[in-house]
């Protein structure tokens, strides 16, 4: 890691803080851009001679530039009340979906994640998504009912499409990308109804664990954390799903919006199981002995997270 990367890292980390704490639309947009520009050099981390990450970085740059331009234009129109029309709200939502990798703009996620190393991949899927999610919340809370339903529908479609894309993948990183599409769908259901941040933080936690175990090459623990991405009950992701279902039932949206996310979770489970098998079968039977000791409490937190609720 060169010393310039430290600078880029801080630029990237700084962006979402700027955009979340600003009250001016230009600064919000500039925060997103700062963070994006800080990330682009980081995408080339750990490059080997024959590596796909140049191509992935280029694709990411082009697509995000398109998204930023659309975001800026529609945001200016929306927040400065130039024209008060639904068209620009929808355009704003579309540009956010390109930024987030939500359903109509999800196409870039698996192919770009496939070319990256783990650290930029995790940064792209977690830290970069914070300001677009915050903008989604502000869009939904300040607009009419039709747009809320649109976000719910897009979230459900995204969960479903993420599951379908994931079933087509044969290698690991595109699968993580597809699962990120599905989880973004769930999180945007949460953006309408509440408990988005709980879900998102839990997703970041599990994703970081998965990436670190995969990076370390610990087959048993990485198989378990791949399964815990699926959000089955004993794992910590389940409490996020539980909270989202609970708050969407509390705020009385129609129950038909929950059908698509549930179906998407079910379909995603198929590919999580597929990848679980290949890692679990490669793991040697006793792998606890040779482990770094600080990982074990974290793994315990991840794998038995819901068990804590019993003793709260």
């Amino acid at each position: 890691m060169s010393s310039a990367n430290v600078l880029f890292f801080f630029v990237m980390a700084f962006g979402p803080i700027v955009s979340l704490s600003s009250s001016n639309w230009f600064l919000v947009w500039a925060g997103i851009e700062i963070s994006f520009l800080g990330l682009v050099p980081l995408l080339f981390l750990g490059s080997k001679y024959m590596s796909l990450n140049k191509e992935a970085g280029l694709k990411y740059f082009c697509i995000q530039a398109l998204g930023s331009a659309l975001l800026f234009m529609s945001g200016v129109v929306m927040y400065f009340d130039v024209v008060d029309s639904l068209v620009f709200s929808v355009l704003f939502l579309f540009s956010l979906s390109i930024k987030l990798g939500l359903f109509p703009g999800h196409f870039w996620v698996p192919s770009i994640v496939a070319g990256l190393e783990w650290i930029p991949c995790v940064l792209m899927l977690t830290w970069q998504k914070i300001p677009p999610f915050a903008l989604t919340v502000s869009l939904v809370s300040s607009s009419n009912y039709l747009l809320q339903e649109l976000v719910l529908l897009l979230g459900g479609m995204s969960a479903l499409v993420g599951g379908l894309i994931g079933n087509n993948q044969t290698s690991l990183r595109p699968m993580i990308g597809a699962s990120s599409v599905a989880h973004t769908g769930w999180a945007s259901v949460g953006a309408v109804c509440g408990s988005l941040w709980l879900y998102f933080i839990l997703y970041c936690l599990v994703l970081v664990f998965t990436a670190s175990f995969l990076w370390e090459g610990n087959n048993l623990l990485s198989s378990m954390s791949i399964l815990s991405l699926s959000g089955l009950p004993p794992f910590v992701m389940f409490s996020g799903k539980w909270m989202i279902i609970k708050s969407s039932l509390c705020c009385a949206i129609s129950i038909k919006f929950l059908i698509l996310p549930i179906l998407g979770t079910f379909i995603s489970l198929i590919f999580y199981l597929k990848f679980l098998y290949s890692f679990y079968l490669n793991s040697e039977k006793v792998s606890f002995k040779s482990n770094i000791s600080w990982i074990l409490p974290l793994a315990f937190l991840n794998l038995a997270g819901v068990g804590y609720i019993v003793f709260l």
């Binding site: 089955l232 009950p233 539980w242 039932l249 929950l258 549930i262 098998y277």
Partner: protein, 433 residues
């Protein structure tokens, strides 16, 4: 007791330690059986006559599964899987919070999957594991939504509170509410995962799967009856008749199986239909019969899986036609086959008989046609058990048996320990609280 099981997780995982923990916890759960009140509860745990018996069954079957596989002493993760499974199961049976019950109901799938994938035999075990996960998770995700909706509506998650609230719910939700547990039981037409999982699972996996995990479905129906104030409506009557006919069909399917494990798996589909119809009709006799059938079937089917595995180690095949003539080579093993086939077909002095007698009167009370189906099922279950026993044990011994190993003492120990829960016949007051 639960702290005992989880406490042992932090010790080092040797076979002996785990075995000792299981012995202690099954003794503790036996003392739980001697309670003076029909139910007791606090913030987290609630015990009633139903769940206490189920906890006893899960502890003792995990112990037996451990006893039957001493050759796994080298792999500590095997013991960990069993421990986690036992802990999760006893937590699931003792929760007073309905969402936590759901969580542990689902959580029991993961160690089972680990057992099947890690210690199964053929490559098809991956497909079997996927089938099991997808069937049960797919049926229980809608249940999760309904449960959370019901808790939000009533403002409480405690089973006792939900029982006394008395809100009503749309009648079609009955399918969703029972559906998850009917898949788990399994009811015929949702049962496809069960023979696959049994055929591919290792011995301990299939013992616990048949012995306790199916009972978790029955206990789930009991809990749902309590917390949704269910009474038999038109939807549930359709479910009952489907499950009775399905049980009959499953016993017919048993007659044409050639794989011993698949035969026993189909026989448990047949038995579980009695359980589900007894529980859904929700009368005292029905629930009692379901409880008795679950206990008896838990012990006898797990014993049959043990026998199937021990015969497999002697003959190196699970095909029934290749295993014939066990009586000439292994008389003790074939005596055990005889006893457990008798128990499985509900011959007179056994617990299964009491269960079948009680449920047939409940079914007669509802409709005599159902009782006719029940009679057919009893007849054919006797016939497939006789088919199983006689085709394995009688006749001239097959040449595959001659290369086998002798009968080990742990095999005899685990087989005769399986008889122990069936002795609860003499403590009949346990069931009629």
């Amino acid at each position: 007791m639960i702290s005992l099981i989880f406490g042992s997780l932090f010790l080092y995982f040797s076979w002996g330690t785990v075995g000792f923990c299981f012995i202690l916890s099954s003794l503790v759960s036996m003392s739980l059986l001697q309670q003076n009140f029909s139910s007791s509860m606090n913030m987290y745990f609630s015990l009633n006559y139903f769940s206490v018996l189920m906890i006893f069954l899960s502890c003792i079957l995990c112990l037996l599964a451990l006893v039957s596989t001493p050759y796994e002493k080298v792999a500590s993760s095997y013991s960990i899987c069993l421990l986690v499974l036992c802990g999760v199961l006893s937590l699931a049976f003792s929760m007073s919070n309905i969402i936590l019950f759901y969580i542990f109901f689902e959580a029991s799938l993961i160690p089972t999957l680990m057992l099947i994938i890690g210690w199964g035999y053929q490559p098809e075990r991956l497909q079997a594991g996927s089938y099991m996960m997808l069937y049960t998770v797919g049926a229980s995700l809608p249940l999760l939504v309904v449960l959370i909706w019901w808790c939000v509506e009533n403002g409480s998650m405690s089973i006792l509170m939900l029982k006394n609230m008395g809100f009503s719910f749309p009648i079609f939700l009955t399918v969703v509410i029972y559906g998850a547990f009917l898949v788990k039981l399994p009811m015929y037409s949702f049962h496809l995962w069960l023979p696959k999982a049994h055929v591919e699972a290792p011995l301990a996996g299939s013992m616990i799967l048949a012995g306790i995990l199916l009972k978790l479905g029955g206990y789930g129906i009991f809990v749902m009856n309590n917390s949704f104030c269910m009474s038999p409506n038109s939807v549930s009557l359709v479910i009952i008749s489907l499950s009775m006919w399905g049980g009959f069909l499953a016993t017919m399917m048993c007659l044409r199986q050639v794989d011993v494990k698949a035969l026993v798996a189909y026989s448990s589909v047949g038995h579980m239909s009695i359980v589900s119809s007894g529980l859904i009709l929700d009368q005292t006799w029905g629930v009692t019969s379901a409880l008795i059938t679950m206990l008896a079937h838990g012990a006898s089917s797990s014993a049959l899986f043990c026998l199937a595995y021990f015969s497999y180690t002697k003959s190196h095949t699970r095909n029934i036609p290749y295993m014939k003539g066990m009586l000439q080579m292994y008389p003790i093993l074939s005596f055990a086959w005889f006893v457990f086939c008798c128990i499985n077909m509900a011959a007179p002095p056994t617990l299964n008989l009491v269960g079948e007698l009680l449920v047939s009167s409940v079914l007669w009370n509802y409709s005599y046609l159902l009782a006719v189906v029940m009679g057919l099922m009893v007849f054919f279950s006797a016939s497939y058990n006789m088919y199983l026993y006689s085709s394995i044990n009688h006749g001239f011994h097959s040449n595959y048996l001659t290369g086998g190993t002798e009968l080990k003492s742990f095999e005899k120990l685990s087989l005769f320990l399986h008889l122990m829960p069936l002795l609860l016949l003499f403590k009949g007051t346990l069931f009629i609280l």
